[in-house]
């Protein structure tokens, strides 16, 4: 599991790779929050392109980051969800609090 973070103007870009579960979520959360607290971005982009597994701990991670960043007036965007991650995000109703890229069609199941 790793998080690559880059800051472009008002946008904080966090590229997560590996598995997001209850075991790994704590250190991912800390990496993102440390960067967001110093950068104070208007937009937090969470890039899921490198995420190979996720459960509801990943949904909690997005919800928690939304709660923090919206206090500073910022927004959250979910980018590059695989079909599987898109399905998980969708059933959680995440679109009410964050924008999300459409599912990566070329990799859709079956």
């Amino acid at each position: 599991m790793s998080v690559k973070i880059s800051n472009k103007g008002e946008v904080l870009y966090c590229s997560i790779s590996g598995e997001i579960d209850h075991h790994s979520a704590g250190s991912i959360r800390k990496a993102i929050d440390d960067a967001a607290n110093s950068a104070m971005p208007n937009l937090l982009v969470l890039d899921f392109a490198g995420v190979t597994f996720m459960d509801s701990s990943g949904i909690g991670l997005v919800m928690g980051r939304y709660r923090n960043i919206s206090k500073q007036g910022g927004k959250v965007h979910i980018s590059n969800p695989s079909p599987y991650i898109h399905k998980l995000m969708h059933i959680s109703g995440i679109e009410r609090i964050a924008t999300m890229d459409p599912v990566r069609e070329e990799e859709s199941y079956r």
Binding site: M54, S56, Y109
Partner: protein, 147 residues
């Protein structure tokens, strides 16, 4: 009900074992030639149930988590995930989406995810005795052109 194959394992309720637990069940189910989607569904459901044992069941000390997995008729994978922890006082309420007794970084969606990623789940629990979640997932037969 005819059991075609089975395995069981138990491990201490440590978060480091979450990946191992879902990986073990996925590897066992791989014998039925599941699709990537079916494997992901199984891994996610197992991860939710096992994480619940680790996060919620044992308030003091580290208890054990038990997994009993069977392949039953019609290529159904039946996975029982059990703890001997605090139990759930109101199962119906616990299963409601967004309900969580912890909140914070927990979304309260574990049971909702298990329900939509498997064919059927059954929850039995007794306060002070523990909780058992049973997950059923049918692996569809696959017909391929050119084998």
């Amino acid at each position: 009900m005819q059991v075609k194959n089975k395995f069981s394992l138990s491990f201490p309720a440590l978060s480091a074992n979450e990946g191992f637990a879902r990986g073990a069940v996925a590897a066992f189910a791989a014998g039925l030639d599941p699709t990537l989607e079916e494997i992901n569904d199984i891994k996610t459901s197992v991860s939710e149930a096992v994480t619940n044992c680790i996060v919620h069941a044992y308030k003091s000390g580290v208890g054990q988590v038990y997994i009993y997995c069977e392949i039953i008729e019609d290529d159904v994978v039946k996975i029982r995930i059990k703890d001997k922890g605090c139990g759930i006082p109101d199962i119906k309420q616990a299963m409601e989406p967004l309900y969580s007794t912890i909140g914070g970084e927990r979304a309260g969606l574990g049971f909702a995810v298990m329900q939509s990623f498997s064919d059927k789940i059954r929850v039995s629990s007794k306060v002070g005795k523990g909780t058992t979640v049973t997950i059923y997932k049918k692996i569809m037969p696959r017909y391929r052109i050119n084998g």
